[in-house]
Symmetry: C2
Subunit: 261 residues, 2 copies
């Protein structure tokens, strides 16, 4: 099948419509396509020039999230068809609720809520990154533990940015791993600890990319650290997540459901 | 209108369907609702117990992203109606392409791509946070500049996590602001600089939350710093983003479009 250019047109950031387009396109595996996002198309002028740009592309698909139906008109006038999230979903919801959707052009949609709580959470997670400021662990919603390069920091930051959770992370060093119990500073916070682990092969590959041919990055060292860490997790009955084949979004969502379980 | 419980049911993280639900619900402003996300509903057993849980709720709406149509059956068998992203959008896309969607139960959908590039970008952004390691600025995709607490760090991290961009950030201190040109270390990177600014009132409120009643957090000090900073931005003709009323998603999307413009 020939290549398509897939445009994601939004009156806001385009993050949501881009995620929807990727999900839907995964169901058409024969399609080869490149994705172009056109955010902040929030006036008739911008819609008209976006439509002109897309119309000059030979094989185009358009996904859109345009709250104002009027902004979809220039695309259709240019002979383009678009799959608009609001147009395709809102009528079904309205029928179920027994009232019509009110296009809310000016209203922010998407994930823009709780800005300050989320920024506070990011700052908290940075301040308690990598074992810093352990005296503030009692203020954390979650404390991620694991060996070096297991993915604690990105997971903590994603949980903070996406969900507004205050997430500390604490590294288990080879010294910590030589003991039979977790470091004393963590013992007062056991219910909030979440352990991350990985396959030794994956951990070695991640460490190799940073410190090639080091003892630190050797498969043997990675295996020893992970075995010792997992024994500590069992000792304290911590919830453990094996992140070997997971994206950061998936790690965060799983940690969050562990936490509410 | 009475309260509804809105459930977002996904066979993966639920991030996408949650964003879609929030967008759609914004078009029904009279609706009072609470949002509950049920992620990783990826087997008939999990779908059946999720359906039982939801059926016990008095007024429920369900948004879903369930790639396997079979997983939607337990909900409908329980008399529940659900608005499924795939069900509502894929047929229109398939008709346009002239082929049917193939439900891809096992395939990851959503924003799970380029995991390693994104993690590298997060590490880069942390290593070049707040003016650290200026010798590596030439490796950055973007360099955010601005006064203290203007939102540089969360914006840089979000750009890294969401888009895989390597984003440094550099604080303009009162000392920097007393000069008529940007710090020398930035001058070799002007095309990649992006300036952030805020209203003085908003900046003062953010600083007050952290250091109440300090000179640093006073409206006068904030105003002086912002005026001096904006004069430097004009001097070097930097693209400037006023983030006063923006979410971190919006800041990131706007910085990204500035960068490609």
């Amino acid at each position: 099948m020939n290549d398509y250019s897939v445009f994601c047109v939004s009156d806001h950031t385009g993050v949501t419509v881009e995620a929807v387009a990727k999900s839907i396109l995964a169901q058409f595996p024969r399609l080869e396509c490149s994705l172009i996002t056109l955010p902040f198309i929030d006036s008739p002028d911008k819609a008209t020039s976006a439509a002109a740009r897309i119309a000059s592309t030979s094989r185009a698909l358009i996904f859109s999230s345009l709250t104002d139906p009027g902004l979809r008109v220039p695309f259709r006038n240019a002979g383009l068809s678009l799959f608009d999230i609001f147009e395709l979903i809102s009528p079904a919801v309205g029928a179920s609720l027994g009232e019509a959707a009110i296009p809310s052009g000016g209203r922010t949609h998407g994930m823009a809520h709780n800005y300050e709580a989320r920024m506070d959470a990011v700052n908290f997670s940075l301040n308690l990154d990598d074992g810093l400021n352990p005296g503030r662990l009692d203020q954390a919603d979650l404390v991620l533990v694991g060996v070096s390069r297991v993915g604690k920091t990105p997971s903590a930051l994603y949980l903070a940015l996406q969900y507004g959770l205050r997430v500390a992370n604490y590294p288990l060093t080879p010294d910590d791993l030589s003991h039979t119990a977790l470091p004393g500073v963590l013992l007062g916070h056991l219910p909030r600890l979440r352990a991350l682990t990985l396959s030794p092969e994956r951990l070695a590959a991640i460490r190799q990319a940073r410190y090639p041919d080091s003892r630190y990055a050797s498969l043997e060292q990675c295996r020893e650290e992970l075995i010792a860490a997992e024994s500590l997790y069992r000792r304290h009955d911590l919830p453990v997540l094996d992140t070997t084949r997971m994206s950061v979004e998936e790690i965060a969502a799983r940690l969050r459901s562990l936490s509410s379980g």
